[in-house]
Amino acid sequence: MAVMTVAKAINEGLRAALENNPKTLLMGEDIGELGGVYRITEGLKRDFGANRVVDTPLAESGIIGTAIGLALRGYRPVCEIQFDGFVFPAFNQITTQLAKLRTRSDGMLGAPVVIRIPYGGGIGSVEHHSESPEALFAHTAGLRIITPSNPQDAYWMVQQAIDCQDPVIVFEPKRRYWLKGEVDTVNAPPSPFTAQVLREGSDATVVAYGPLVPVALAAAEAAQQDGHSVEVIDLRSISPIDFDTVTASVAKTGRLVVAHEAPTFGGIGGEIAARISERAFLSLEAPVIRVGGFHMPYPVARTEEQYLPDIDRILEALERAFAY
């Protein structure tokens, strides 16, 4: 067991993938000499060379489009998109090409491309650097979407994504890059496409993922002080969603709050609410309540503290659930 940050864990995970498979290669803007704007790929070009850690031209569609071609030739490209808000020039390649290649070829071809995207706010940054666009991709069949919330998952998820035969987007919670935790580099955690119960409880369930997992845990702790036993689930996988784990929890607790930074309208929380209302209707004591961003473009940095779901917003949602 080693203690490391989420950033270092991803770096180590990428290093292991580069060592284990000569077909793995990294591509992205500034990922070579600089090690990426968040230093996630630090030292990897030095150790694996410019042919495997590729500083690309500044063109996101070009990164994903050429990665698809490399994958067709048998490579395992891992693309870094510098910031969440910069993925959109590549949206066409991701949704019309990458996601559909398998079905277009009647299952004959695949493009196991991994796309790493630092996402979410809370870093006081400028426009386009704090967004949570996961729902836009979750809506597209053919993609898988996962998001680690701790160093252990960060280390393993990126490797599991590279091993997956399907294209995988790994949304990395950028404000948690410096979160430290233990990493077991020998024993892998459960499949990245499953949810994990991080804290058991009996009165309500909070589902969160990525950057809001520590917030949800803190809210559950605070609720405990008020006498409420709250279960916390780290969703981990946004596509597919592990509804079995969420359903089992709600069957036990009867109440569900879903929290994410992304706007609630048309979001992952809405999808979970709809599915759980079908699967666990008779167990529910209250409507499923969402906590998330508002229907506005991500606001300016000086207001993001008010915008981002925090402990109080989750507690307030729990209170509303308990009021039924």
Binding site: T56, L70, Q97, S105, C164
Partner: protein, 393 residues
């Protein structure tokens, strides 16, 4: 902003002129041509040495390919008119560009077509009937690209240009890892319309940056559905290569001999590690964009007539006949062969069965996916409910 007012009224009353007039059939002095529209074969100082030959057998083989694919095109158009295909994308007029470039390829090269490259597909050995499966609505692909190194048709224009560059980057790495591999290149096909897409720009930037072994083969057929090529570009498209720092060549796209020679040169350039090449095949879409299109709405019949003397098949036939390289016996035999091919094609198309929706569920992901499995089961149960109703009623 200041209070300056634009002379709006003047703008409204004037049509904004195009940067240049729609180009005619004259490809200009820099266009590489071997076989002129009258069927006279000339040598070319620069590319003459790259032709695979102009002897009777070689030229007859090229003519046969062009003739068969034109007949295939007519047959597919007829099948669409009869409701056997949902849509067809004709290639008439572009046979020389496609057969000439396709016949320059070697087995280890890999092709990324757009959706009109039926002639290239023929040269790669794709079964003609397989090309119709997409247009019959029974698949979005149609063939196994690994069999002939001919990728699936790409309908979101220009996306495939980047795939070709990425594939070429893979070829580069494979070659470095195993120098005994036969040198290979990838080829990105696209048109004058798609040349305006950002992905073509990014593809050329990446190809240049990494010196990728890729040939960009642009068929300038002068029309992006209803918009003339003059709206896409002010300069000959081949000239754009200069801005990226690699060679660009305009070739007479209706001259199969020239296209083959220039493509041979470009592929050798790419395969030998010298980097990308852009070829602009100057040609003309003699037919509609698709069977859903009506060119009488946007172009003059006079323009079509201007291009008719440049028909790629007509000029090679003239050459073969006047030089005695081929006579009636060859052409009669070919007509018979094409007729038999058409009969077989019709039979194959009518025998194609639509797939079930269940098969579509199973092609979305490679690995098990709980949502897809759940929805598939729900759909099966729903369908089974109907069977039950029929039985009880």
């Amino acid at each position: 902003m200041s209070g300056t007012r634009l002379p709006a009224a003047e703008f409204e009353s004037e049509e904004i002129a195009l940067a240049s007039a729609p180009p005619g059939p004259d490809g200009g002095p820099d266009m590489v041509q071997f076989l002129d529209p009258d069927g006279r074969l000339n040598d070319h100082p620069e590319f003459g040495g790259f032709s695979s030959g102009t002897g009777a057998e070689r030229l007859k083989a090229l003519y046969r390919d062009m003739y068969l694919i034109r007949r295939f095109d007519q047959e597919a158009t007829a099948l669409q008119r009869q409701g056997q295909l949902a849509l067809w994308v004709p290639l008439t007029g572009q046979e020389a560009a496609q057969i000439g470039s396709g016949r320059a390829l070697q087995a280890q090269d890999y092709v990324f077509p757009t959706y009109r490259e039926h002639g290239v597909a023929l040269t790669r050995g794709v079964r003609l009937s397989e090309m119709l499966r997409l247009f019959r609505g029974i698949t979005n692909g149609g063939w196994d690209p690994r069999e002939n190194n001919f990728h699936l048709y790409t309908l979101v224009l220009a996306a495939q240009a980047l795939h070709a560059v990425g594939y070429a980057m893979g070829l580069q790495r494979d070659q470095a890892a195993d120098p005994t591999l036969a040198p290979a290149a990838s080829v990105a096909y696209f048109g004058d319309g798609a040349s305006s897409e950002g992905d073509v720009h990014e593809a050329m930037v990446f190809a240049a940056s990494f010196n990728a072994p890729v040939v960009f083969f642009c068929q300038n057929n002068h029309w992006a559905i209803s918009v003339p090529s003059s709206v896409q570009t002010r300069v000959p498209l081949a000239q754009r290569a200069e801005g990226y720092g690699f060679p660009g060549i305009r070739v007479d796209g209706n001259d199969v001999v020239a296209v083959e020679a220039v493509t041979n040169w470009a592929l050798e350039h790419a395969r030998s590690g010298k980097g990308p090449v852009l070829i602009e095949a100057f040609t003309y879409r003699m037919s509609a964009h698709t069977t859903a299109d009506d060119p009488t709405k946007y172009r003059l019949s006079r323009e079509e007539e201007d291009w008719h003397p440049r028909d790629p098949l007509a000029r090679l036939e003239k050459h073969l006949r006047t030089t005695g390289k081929a006579g009636d016996a060859f052409f009669d035999e070919l007509t018979k062969e094409a007729k038999a091919m058409a009969v077989e094609l019709r039979r194959d198309v009518q025998a194609m069965q639509p797939p079930g929706l269940e098969e579509r569920f199973n092609t979305v992901y490679a690995e098990p996916h709980p949502l897809v499995q759940e929805e598939l089961q729900a759909w099966r149960d729903y369908e089974a409910g109907f069977i039950g109703e029929e039985e009880t009623s």
